[in-house]
Amino acid sequence: MQLTLEFGGGLELLCDSVKIHKVNVDLPDESHILTMKDLLKWVRTNLIKERPEMFIKGDTVRPGVLVLVNDCDWELSGQLETTLEEKDVVVFISTLHGG
């Protein structure tokens, strides 16, 4: 699935200082949908190069990290359960550091 991922507010420092990543994410085995939960795991494994604890806490993002799916706060779309679609844009912004 083609997605655009954007990291801001300092989070880009965890992925080689690149803010915008055009990525192709495979659907999880035996599944025909991709959720934010799956995406976070994928990001943790494939994009985060250092200090993952700045991004992830438990199975979700660290408190203080904003997540927007197509410019909309993921709180409105079901957070981890949000299902992603082809060409979606997901933005992660840390409010904890950077500036």
């Binding site: 507010g9 927007l68 409105l76 779309s77 949000t82 299902t83 840390s94 500036g99």
Partner: protein, 341 residues
């Protein structure tokens, strides 16, 4: 448009903004838990700030007002909102942007570029004052001399005074600074944890220093998109609380505002610095003490508890009755890197 509709279906929640009932909501306001669209958020946010300005009689027509501008999110939002409201409601204010250049290579350069963009975007004249011009030292110079350990103390103390000095250059009547709710809540919490009653009562006050050189007004922006210096555990704690109960952050600020200081609590007396005339509860203000230390090659002077050679330390010994132990203990609890209102 089609994509927008598809997404709102997928969202499963209410499809329309609960204020206008027209557009797709993009955020849930922690303050009200309302799901609202971008346009309505701007509208209620700006209107609430206008109400705060009116209710607290923050400005008078014809006043000159400096906006403390760091190039970060909070001050950028403040510059936009205040210049917008000034036009919309005809406040009649002369607005200026005031920036501090601490002289940190590779850090300030970028954010000063943002401020220069704000200058053009909002048509506000910009004044930049530098540590180098005011004190003869850049932060790079200071770090070279003292290392990385206590440099936040220098930077914080110098910045507060630099704002006032910049304001004097611009001949403004007031300084406004923008803060987000997370920062204020964190400051309330830190002041409670430190037992710093003087700062606890000041840190949520909307104006400070009305007897001092220039009154300062603080706007607390309900900022959900605010990158900020990470201030450790307290920040993560309040963000954890917020996840359980979104209003927690605003409630902490409310607690800070509602604290009543017992009249028996001894508060430090505010006077003026004998050397530079800036407000100070000591003989010399903190900036003068720190500067004296730098210039005399004793950079630890003024950091932590009073040491031999500290002009205010000497003063304590000679004149115990004036400052007294309460003042001294508050002084010694100042930590570096804290927002200090």
């Amino acid at each position: 448009m089609e994509a927008g509709e598809a997404k709102s279906k997928k969202a499963g929640g209410p499809r329309l903004c609960c204020i206008c009932n027209l557009r797709r909501p993009v955020l849930k306001r922690p303050k009200t838990l309302q799901q609202i669209c971008r346009e309505c958020f701007y509208e209620v946010f700006e209107e609430e700030i206008h109400q705060v300005i009116v209710k607290n009689h923050l400005f008078k027509s014809g006043e000159r007002v400096a906006i403390g501008a760091s190039g970060g999110k909070d001050s950028t939002v403040l510059a936009y909102v205040l210049s917008e409201l000034n036009k919309r409601h005809s406040y009649g204010l002369d607005l200026f942007l005031l920036s501090i250049d601490e002289g940190i290579t590779g850090y300030r350069d970028d954010s000063l570029e943002t401020v220069k963009r704000n200058e053009v975007q909002y048509g506000l004249p910009l004044q930049i004052v530098s540590y180098k011009d005011l004190y003869g030292w850049t932060m790079d110079d200071i770090v070279k001399m003292i290392g990385l350990k206590n440099n936040c103390t220098f930077c914080g103390v110098f910045r507060r005074q630099a704002l006032d000095r910049g304001a004097a250059l611009l001949k403004v009547d007031k300084i406004v600074t923008g803060h987000n709710a997370d920062d204020i809540a964190e400051t309330v919490l830190l002041n409670i944890l430190r037992g710093d009653i003087a700062r606890l009562s000041r840190c949520t006050s909307i104006t400070t220093g009305e007897d001092g050189p220039i009154p300062r007004y603080y706007f607390s922006t309900e900022c959900i998109y605010s990158p900020n210096a990470y201030r450790g555990f307290a920040r993560e704690f309040i963000k954890d609380l917020e996840r359980l109960r979104p209003k927690a952050i605003l409630d902490i600020i409310k607690s800070g505002e509602d604290f009543r200081i017992a009249t028996t609590t001894k508060m430090p007396e505010q006077g003026t610095c004998e050397r530079c005339g800036y407000i100070s509860s000591q003989k010399w203000c903190k900036a003068c003490v720190l500067l004296e230390g730098l210039n005399r090659g004793l950079p630890k002077m003024g950091i932590g508890r009073s040491r031999a050679g500290d002009v205010n330390g000497d003063l304590h010994n000679k004149n115990e009755s004036k400052s007294g132990p309460t003042v001294k203990s508050i002084e010694s609890r100042k930590q570096c890197g804290s927002l200090d209102f």
